[in-house]
């Protein structure tokens, strides 16, 4: 624990209550009604008979328990990083045991005798592309939902409707994956081939391999769309909170100037919520990057970088860990390589989430 003197700390936290009261009502300075402050905090200077040794010991034990729980949390975070690095080490620095380059090779093959050949290039590509599609679709829609619930929906219905959106967060990702694979993918074959027919000039929707709509199916595009649905609740919940905090005066001022509803939102609500929206988007990004099961069901693994989003290819860090785990233990580098993938994922999500939290924290300082 970092604090130097537990007594002083206690005084500051518990005594602050009494201090506040004293400041609020400065009439009796030191009267018979005052002792509680010393009893509550167990003051170090005034030893009264009420705040005996036993009271302070109880406080110290309880505070130790509470702070210890916080410490467990920090230890777990540190242990995650340490164990992943430790167990990924053989694959991170495989040397001759890995024919490929860890960062540029688009392969994931292991052998029990000869050198393996693997690298995370295709995984990184798939992870980034699917998350990007999810963000491109999910974030604007989520902001729209948040605006609807905070400013458009009838006040009485707003909480209920917000609860409905939150219900989307309760659906297990396994179910999203099954729904996507068995309902959405077959139903959108026509849509995917339509994209190829009219938008093949965009390169990303070009598909030179398939000639028949029935060949379309699992693709990075569909994974991205399902991910977009999955990040909706978290992004819209954060945005909603921020939008609801818009200062009443700013909104009223906009109304008073004769602004339309949209102008009010554009000039008062959105600028106020910008930091909140950015951090919400980052939280959604973290969710999308780390999503495992739905993506594992929706992608068909190929370990190749393929910019044509409707073709059957795509792997992410998370989906590879889930899908390749079963066969990994047979080779010496199989498991370390998967842990390496996990380490990359951990670091990426850590960075994304830290940025999101830093933005929120700065915003808090700014408004306070």
């Amino acid at each position: 624990m970092t604090e130097p003197d537990p007594l002083e700390e206690e005084l500051r936290s518990a005594g602050a209550v009494a201090d506040e009261q004293r400041r609020a009502a400065p009439a009796p300075t030191r009267g018979p009604a005052d002792p509680p402050s010393s009893a509550a905090g167990g003051s170090g200077t005034v030893r009264s008979s009420i705040s005996g040794q036993s009271v302070r010991r109880g406080d110290r034990v309880f505070k130790g328990l509470a702070a210890g729980s916080g410490a467990v949390l920090l230890v777990v975070m540190a242990a995650i990083a340490a164990f992943l690095v430790w167990k990924a080490w053989p694959a991170l620095f495989a040397g001759d045991a890995n024919k490929g380059n860890l960062f540029t090779t688009q392969k994931w093959s292991f052998s029990s005798e000869g050198p393996s050949n693997f690298g995370v290039a295709a995984l990184a590509f798939g992870t980034i592309v699917s998350a990007t599609i999810a963000m491109a679709i999910g974030v604007p829609v989520a902001i729209g939902i948040a605006l609807y619930i905070s400013h458009y929906a009838p006040r009485r219905l707003a909480t209920v409707l917000g609860g409905l959106v939150d219900l989307l967060a309760a659906v297990p990702s396994l179910v999203f994956g099954m729904w996507g694979l068995y309902l959405l993918v077959p139903k959108t074959q026509g849509f995917q081939s339509w994209l190829n027919e009219y938008f093949s000039w965009t390169y990303i929707f070009d598909n030179t391999r398939f000639t028949n709509p029935n060949q379309y199916g699992q693709s990075l595009l569909m994974a991205g769309i399902v991910l977009a649905i999955m990040i909706l609740p978290v992004v819209s919940a954060v945005c909603r909170e921020v939008f609801l905090q818009t200062p009443r005066e700013t909104v009223d001022a906009a109304w008073a100037l004769g602004a339309t509803k949209w102008e009010t939102i554009r000039t008062a609500v959105l600028p106020f919520g910008r930091a909140g929206m950015i951090s919400a988007a980052m939280l959604g990004l973290g969710r999308a990057l780390g999503e495992t099961i739905a993506v594992a069901l929706l992608l068909s693994s190929a370990f190749k970088i393929n910019g044509h989003l409707t073709e059957k290819a795509g792997d992410t860090f998370a989906s590879t860990i889930a899908l390749k785990f079963g066969e990994a233990s047979g080779t010496p580098l199989g498991i370390p390589a998967l842990i390496t993938a996990g380490l990359f994922l951990f670091v990426i999500t850590l960075i994304v989430n830290s940025i999101a939290r830093a933005i929120i924290a700065r915003k808090k300082d700014f408004t306070a």
């Binding site: 509550a40 505070k63 509470a66 242990a79 102008e263 990057l289 999500t349 989430n353």
Partner: protein, 353 residues
Amino acid sequence: MSTLTSPAPTTPPAGRALPSALVGARLPKWAPYVAALIALALAVGAKYGLGWTGWYTAFFTAAALYIVVLSAWSYSVEGRRRAKDRVASTLIHACFVAAMVPLLLILVYMLQRGLPALTTGLSDPDLRGLLVGGLIGTLEQVGMAAIIAIPLGIFTSIYLVEYGKGRFARAVTFFVDVMTGVPSIVAGLFVYTFLLLGFGARPFGFAGSIALAILMLPVVVRSSEEMLRLVPRDLRDASYALGVPKWRTIIMIVLPTAMSGLITSGLLAVARVAGETAPLILLTGYSSFLNANPFSGDQATLPMMVWDQLGKRTGNPGTDAGAWGAALLLVLLVLLLNVIARLLARLAQPKTK
């Protein structure tokens, strides 16, 4: 949006309101419906006229045409600003619908495939055994995760709310936030390296509980922190004024006041992890016979049963009834937890008085 209704001296000609001194010309109230009808008619006409297959194209065309028709009409009558307002309002409503459609589709599709699967699954003795084993495994693992994570999380939030000051508290707050973002598969991988590789253990149920507890912990801390902050200062002050020490104040006053809120947050956290599959793939293994002991041997859970029956674990798909029945059972379990939590949350509301 309320508008001033100007006393119109004459009845306005159809489709066009007379401009008043206060409010510019406005479209009549029924304009959006008419625009929708026009768009729908055009889209259906296009479907048959141009020989489109499928109703999706017609539907999306109608939606796009609706925006075009309405904004053009509004632009010609009300001007640029109001037209923009109408487009924005339409799009924002559409966003909400866009979220509700998948939710509805998922629930309906789950019932459609899951109900028959679950009924056949429950009547078939083999499948019933699998389902019961999976349910027991899920309840045990999630329950033990809750036993680890909820007290730890509540104590951490007590620290943050009642004691937390200085660098250590800030570090805890920051890492709670960061931990929220740890992907479930990474939590699973950590427990795998730690328990299974580190100690050379075979997969067992409790390993899954630990991973689930790691995922639950930040959720519990966050929500119970909010609950504890809702407890009015006055209650604490009153207790201090009676000379009650701080720790007893927390146990006797703060926690009971926030209790129903804390239960809600715990249940929501349980619901959040009950459907997790990713860490279990690495940690708990899967067994087709009942293993009620989470501390030794492979243990089946509902998510793992789905994963197995879909053929993702071994490459041999099982039965449809197994996969969809187990998935529906899982969804029902998660929804039940959510409903109970929300009902309790409602009960918790008047406590602030």
